[in-house]
Amino acid sequence: MTDAPIPRTPSLLARAIDSDIFYSFRRSRLTIVAAAIVFLLLMMALFAPVLVVQNPFDPAQLELINSRIAPLWTAEGQKPFLLGTDEQGRDIYSAILYGMRISLVVGVLGVSFAAVLGIGLGLIAGYIGGAVDSLIMRIADVQLTFPAILIALLIDGVVKSALGNHLDASTTLIVLVVAIGLSFWVQYARTVRGSVMVEKNKDYVAAAQLIGLPARVIMIRHVLPNTMGPILVIATINLALAIITEATLSFLGSGMPDTMPSLGTLIRIGNNYLFSGEWWVIAFPGLALASLILSINLLGDWLRDALNPKLQ
């Protein structure tokens, strides 16, 4: 008997580098650039407190003496305000970093809420079927005919009328997350339901039922992991949409207040100075928002193609 060398299991990192998905990532230069931009913006948002010259949310740190300063490289520029300041003496660069934090937090939480809600309802609809299924799917059908932004605006208005018109910033943030979550759940529910209908007739589910596992365990531990590919793609593309929705709500004046501005709020503030020549108040937040959304969209497009078995 010879001792055949037992092949060592490659480490997780080695397996990741060797995988198809990493190969397709390396092959696409545009995707690498997009990923780098997303990573850079994420890091800037994450470490914002150490990267800024002032806390733009703290009124005590804003001085009116510093208002309406042009960007550093122009003739009227002043240190340390790299991208200039707005009317309240808020440093635009600092405000963008903090605003991006809010945009990302609302986006990620909103998408997570939508995903949990949609996946849950999709699992229930697909696994139980019958009247529950048709009820959930009819609601989904009706909601799908309305654009998400309209639903989010309505939810926002109803919550305001129930809780009073002047909410503090953190409550507004929660309202935005809920509004976005409730506007985007349908796609997850439909996708998960479809996969569950396919998966639940397979042998492994029958085996799990046979050994007496409860439906809840079968759904979450066994069926759900097999539906995750498309969910990941939808979540990435939805993240861009959720950030757009938050920015739009804030731009329309139904989102984050001026005291705790997100990127959309900054653009709304800047819009007031469009005619007085202070272009930097709006241009840089707009640029930040556009590059964030475009990069996430590019990543989402790539992920969709990379995970699509038809294209491989």
Binding site: P147, K160, A162, T248, G253, S254, I267, F275, A290, L298
Partner: protein, 326 residues
Amino acid sequence: MLAFILRRALQSIGVMIAVGIIAFTMFRFAGDPVNQMVAIDTTPAQRAEVRASLGLDDPVPVQFARYFINAVQFKFGVSYQFRQPVSALLKERMPATLELATCATVIAMVFGILMGIYSALRKDSFFAKVLQAVSLIGISLPTFLIGILLIYLFAVTLGWLPSFGRGDVVKFGWWTTGLLTISGLKALIMPSVTLGLFQMTLIMRLVRAEMLEVLRTDYIRFARARGLTTRAIHFGHALKNTLVPVITVAGLQFGSVIAFAIITETVFQWPGMGLLFVQAVQNVDIPIMAAYLLVVSLIFVTINLIVDILYTIVDPRLRATINRPA
């Protein structure tokens, strides 16, 4: 066929009733309508009087029935901020929105189809690749940023076009139109381009994909074999089959164009229903919000119904599946 239309119409009525329940719930339970309508120094007795005159003491089903009967006659109550009937406000604002949405759809269809055909027929040319890249950016930029960019370019820097409002309008009965005056037309350009841009990129991508698909089919190869000119093949045979799904999508999208007009109307201060709705959300004017929801839903549901019925008339294959017993 008739059974299908009836069933489809019943479904639409069901959706409208569901939306009606949501609108009524908002109207009745989100905040106290009486508080919104009276002054702070109103006595409790007067409040009770207002309450009784609005019928808020009746059982909820009775109130719903009354709301429903009124809504069917387009009576949506009185706006809290303007103290005017909501239906009058909506009627005054509706022409502006419909005109804007129609112009945006026309622009989106004309340019979207032309650009789609071009990028399908010359799919390796430089300009076609530029179009693809621009369409990705067009989808990624939020509507309000595009609007602001256009205002900065054409209103602030160049001064060619007005940045807000409708310009001069001409009245026909209760309908107002900006299509007949120079200033009205100039004011219409930027808002309708902004609103139509997303639909335009959508239609362009759709036409391109459909056209590439159709060009591979056998009947096109047969047309080539018959020695028809390229022009006749592309525009006589291929384009005709491409346009059916395009018109469907454009029709279905008309509803969301009206909803997205909310954003465009805010950017350009366009005096339409969308601007009214945004102001209503900010000021918690529930009657306007509920009425807007009902009116927009009605437009959505009607368009969906018409498109579905037209589709079955146009496409005989669908008729076969409908007539087959389920």
